[in-house]
């Protein structure tokens, strides 16, 4: 069970509107954001290699996605990381970004487990 991670009623209504194609695209976009964040913060362990602008852009994209699909915890995590931004120490920022990635992976897993409407 995933008690508060994803509001599946919202996801259902989106998939009803846009079909399975939309669900696949949502999964792909989440995965892209995760890959982007990982690339920005994991190429040098404990360091963030991307510019503040690049990091902010990926976080903003992910937040928009999260809010749209009803993933409140992920949206909040993105917002916190965005707000911390340059003000945080590098280590703290990396930790925040990794938390965001982890949460996104969990959300994606839950979306993948939702029944496929086209089947």
């Amino acid at each position: 069970m995933f008690p508060t991670r994803l509001d599946t009623t919202i996801l259902d209504s989106l998939v009803e509107m846009g079909g399975e194609e939309l669900r696949f695209q949502l999964l792909a976009d989440l995965q892209d954001c995760e890959a982007g964040l990982k690339a920005l913060c994991l190429s040098e362990p404990g360091n963030v290699t991307g510019t503040a602008q690049e990091v902010a852009h990926v976080l903003h994209t992910l937040r928009g996605l999260a809010m749209t699909i009803g993933a409140a915890t992920l949206a909040r995590a993105c917002m916190q990381a965005e707000e911390l931004g340059g003000a945080a120490g590098r280590e703290m920022l990396v930790q925040n970004l990794l938390n965001v990635v982890q949460e996104s992976v969990q959300v994606r897993a839950q979306i993948e487990q939702c029944p496929d409407r086209d089947r």
Partner: protein
């Protein structure tokens, strides 16, 4: 409705593929057919080649700033209606966009109806503007803000004051005759303020039932349970719009004053709670009169009457009437499923010499009556049922060269003079020097008389 929508272009600029897919789907199901761009560069190219009248624009793009892109589009094609999209928590940027000329802003997650409604409004407004001749005709503002179609100097001044007071969080007091657009003015101030993303709650303090009013405003008293949250609670972070605060009962005035003095609201259940609201008040007359009459507590007056704003009555800005009337006609015609396209010059001349005691409400009613009872496309004098003294036209009336003696019957010399001057101003497109030339009098005479009318009507 669908074919009309499909003919008008719409560009969607969103860089997240799934969100682009989702918005496109919603829009297509509503009958729109958007062209899509994923980057700023792509959007610039498409805008140059397609010139879409309406643009839905995500403010955060991978290769450029959405605000800059919007400014470029509006510089190239000012008639374009740009709706900006932003994530929750970035509302300040959206408000900034509105100040720079965005038509509307939408906050993610976007509700289907809100998205479709905003696009439909933008298209309607685009059509209204372009059908009137496009650029420079007038700046038409959204929804209820049609009262502020401003070609007249007096309304341009009001718009400037609105922009200025919106940036402050101090209380505003709007004074204006019935139907002059006080609520629309309050809405504009709210939408242009930093509180735009929060509620705007309206309370009419003229409600005769004091207990009910207490419950509505403060959430206390015997009726509070059935009415739910107080207006002050609901307006948290936003704006509380008080109509006729001078009509509040003395004990309610004292409570309101206490909240404004302490910044805290003593709620029945929750104890003292901080109050974060901006207050905009409105009345027909200067509240000083209410103080003199012993109806309004002086201390409350000084709390509410910080930034005053006076709205001119419709008859004091005849140059705005043609544009407002045409916009009302287009709206009403659409609402009533009629095909009215224009107001004939004769009908317009007739409308321009009315006194419009009920201001925009009265004008709207007269036009609605004409639209409901007749078929378009032209709105003629014979269709107008005007309450003007000595000039009641019916559909049976000839379309009409009025008998001057009949029209002037019962009017005082001052009324006749006022009408003659207003009609001349209207005939001369709002130009007082040209109206003065036509009437063979000095422009200063008209300016002086106009000041006198405004004082009288206030």
């Amino acid at each position: 409705m669908k074919p009309a929508k499909a003919k008008l272009g719409l560009m969607l600029v969103e860089d997240t593929p799934s969100l682009q897919m989702l918005y496109r789907t919603v829009l297509k199901k509503a009958g729109f057919n958007p062209i899509c761009a994923s980057t700023g560069a792509e959007a610039q190219q498409l805008f140059a080649s397609e010139r879409p009248p309406v643009v839905l624009l995500d403010l955060v793009l991978p290769d450029c700033d959405g605000l800059t892109l919007m400014t470029e589009m509006l510089t190239e094609a000012p008639e374009t209606r740009v709706i900006v999209i932003t994530a929750n928590g970035s509302v300040a940027k959206a408000v900034q966009a509105t100040r720079r000329g965005a038509f509307d802003f939408l906050v993610k997650p976007l509700g289907d109806l809100r998205l479709i409604g905003s696009v439909a409004n933008a298209m309607t407004e685009y059509l209204a503007i372009t059908q009137r001749g496009g650029k420079g005709v007038s700046r038409v503002l959204q929804s209820r803000q049609d009262a502020f179609v401003a070609q007249s100097e007096s309304m341009r001044q009001v718009s400037t004051v609105i922009e200025a007071v919106a940036r402050s969080s101090a209380p505003v007091f709007i004074i204006g005759a019935s139907g002059s657009g006080k609520a629309a003015c309050a809405e504009m101030i709210h939408l242009r303020s930093s509180r735009a993303g929060k509620p705007l709650i309206e309370v009419d303090c003229g409600l005769p039932d004091t207990q009910a009013l207490e419950a509505i405003l403060f959430g206390t008293g015997t009726q509070s349970e059935t009415l739910g949250q107080s207006a002050i609670q609901r307006a948290k972070g936003g704006t509380l719009f008080l109509r006729n605060p001078q009509k509040l009962a003395p004990q309610l005035q004292a409570r309101l004053l206490s909240i404004l003095n302490t910044g805290q609201s003593a709620e029945a259940q929750s104890g003292a709670a901080p109050v974060d609201i901006r207050i905009i008040s409105a009345a027909r007359r200067d509240p000083l009169e209410a103080i003199r009459a012993g109806e309004l507590e002086e201390a409350l007056y000084y709390r509410l009457f910080v930034l005053p704003l006076t709205l001119p009555p419709l008859h004091a800005r005849p140059e705005d009437l043609p544009v407002i009337a045409e916009q009302f006609l287009a709206e009403i015609s659409q609402q009533e499923g009629k095909q009215f396209k224009r107001i004939t010059p004769e009908a317009l001349a007739l409308l321009q010499v009315q006194t419009w005691e009920g201001n925009l409400h009265e004008l709207r009613n007269v036009l609605r009556q004409a639209v409901v009872l007749h078929e378009g496309p032209d709105l003629t004098p014979a269709m107008l049922r005007l309450a003007s003294r000595g000039v009641t036209l019916t559909p049976q009336s000839a379309p009409v060269i009025l008998d001057l003696d009949t029209a002037l019957a019962g009017m005082t010399m001052a009324e006749i003079e006022t009408r003659a001057i207003r009609a001349a101003i209207a005939r001369n497109g709002g130009s007082i020097p040209r109206a003065a030339q036509e009437l063979d009098i000095a422009p200063s005479t008209i300016y002086r008389k106009r000041d006198d009318w405004e004082k009288t009507s206030a």
